[in-house]
């Protein structure tokens, strides 16, 4: 454990909240539920920060909490039901990933693209491609072997490319 002073929850919030929010959204949390899930993340941080032993970086630890809370959310019975009825669960779900121009279209297109992935692959893609973690950090956060994380990333890229190609074919 290093000797650096432990940041306060406020400091962690100021530095990371916007990215936690972004991550939750990209993990498939609907915008309406993002504030509540963000709150759950920081209540958990508040509760567990004193026992954080700095075996991993604070950022890795924080995103681990974020991933777990998002995962738990998706397993809630009423969420599972809603998601199974209306995948993907985000705004403008009819938006295709092909030809997205405006910011809103691009946002929808990203969600549309990520929705082709199962939860495990989606976590890896979001953490690596969007949040910029190393693959070692990704494996730590999602608690899987490094090689498994690589496999998930590779499979996810293949799936996303296939989905885009299928959309292109459907358009022509």
């Amino acid at each position: 454990m290093n000797d650096e002073p432990r940041p306060t929850v406020r400091q962690i919030f100021d530095e990371h909240a916007r990215y936690i929010w972004r991550t939750l959204r990209h993990l498939g949390i609907p915008e309406a539920d993002a504030p509540d899930l963000c709150q759950e993340v920081f209540v958990t941080v508040h509760r567990k920060l004193p026992s954080f032993e700095a075996r991993s970086s604070l950022r890795t630890w924080l995103y681990g909490i974020c991933i777990r809370i998002a995962s738990e959310y998706r397993r809630r019975p009423y969420v599972r039901k809603e998601m199974s009825l209306s995948q993907p669960a985000y705004e403008a779900s009819e938006q295709c990933a092909v030809g997205a121009d405006s910011a809103l279209e691009q946002r929808s297109a990203v969600q549309h693209l990520l929705a082709v992935l199962d939860e495990d692959k989606r976590q890896v893609v979001v953490l690596y491609e969007i949040e910029g973690f190393s693959m070692k950090e990704v494996a730590d956060i999602v608690a899987c072997p490094l090689q498994t994380a690589y496999s998930r990333l590779h499979a996810a890229r293949t799936l996303m490319l296939s989905a885009l190609n299928a959309e292109r074919r459907a358009e022509t």
Binding site: R6, P7, T8, R10, W21, R22, P35
Partner: protein
């Protein structure tokens, strides 16, 4: 260990997927959304949960005070004590406990009378629907548990009653762990050691790895 593959946003030429991920990185909440989130989290962010000193944590939490700070007080009380190897001495007449040191840290106040009914805040504003926003639930939970925490020293039976009320109203509440800590401490003060021990075992099973585990162990030694 193989090198990490090139991120799609860094590839040249950037693919369509790379373009989308580049846009995704810019998809941040608005300042207004963040401000609302911070306001909802106010007690949590204002507390000194990250303080390495139990005394410092308690003092800042005490400054928050009131119902609005109840969430932080409740959690902070536990967390501050989690940092403490032994409960700080409070007074010659007060039995060391998992809650008492943090309770004793504020300036002396009159605890809620044991016969007092739950306040309007803790009863009238409590959401009953599972669909209620988490933050609203948390504040109502906090109000109820703050009342229970205050009653611990003067009337552990009332504290236990409130904790059990919390369990009935918020079976999946975000402060469930804090409730159990209060309930276990109340049982211990009531000399109901077997029940305290049983509830502590339930806590360990329900919340493995909890930061409150050590306090629970101290409250209900096997």
């Amino acid at each position: 260990m193989p090198d990490d593959p090139e991120r799609l946003v860094n590839a040249t030429p950037r693919s369509q997927v790379g373009e989308l991920f580049a846009s995704a990185a810019r998809d941040l909440p608005s300042e207004a959304q963040l401000a609302r989130l911070a306001a909802d989290l106010g007690p949590v962010l204002g507390g000194a949960a990250g303080a390495t000193s139990a005394a410092a944590g308690a003092s800042v939490l005490v400054k928050l005070g009131g119902a609005a700070g109840a969430l932080a007080l409740l959690i902070g009380a536990g967390l501050a004590l989690r940092e403490t190897a032994k409960p700080a001495p409070t007074s010659a007449t007060v039995t060391p406990s998992v809650i008492a040191p943090a309770v004793a840290a504020p300036p002396p106040t009159s605890p809620e009378p044991p016969s007092a009914a739950p306040t309007a805040e803790s009863s009238a504003s409590a959401p009953s629907s599972k669909s209620a926003p988490v933050h609203a639930k948390a504040l109502s939970e906090a109000a109820l548990l703050e009342q229970a925490r205050r009653a611990l020293a003067s009337s552990p039976s009332y504290a236990l009653q409130l904790a059990n009320e919390h369990r009935a109203r918020f079976p999946h509440g975000v402060l469930s762990q804090e409730r159990e800590v209060i309930a276990i401490e109340a049982l211990r003060r009531l000399q109901r050691g077997a029940e305290a021990d049983q509830r502590a075992k339930g806590f360990s099973k329900a919340f493995p790895g909890s930061a409150h585990q050590r306090m629970v162990n101290e409250a209900a030694p096997k």
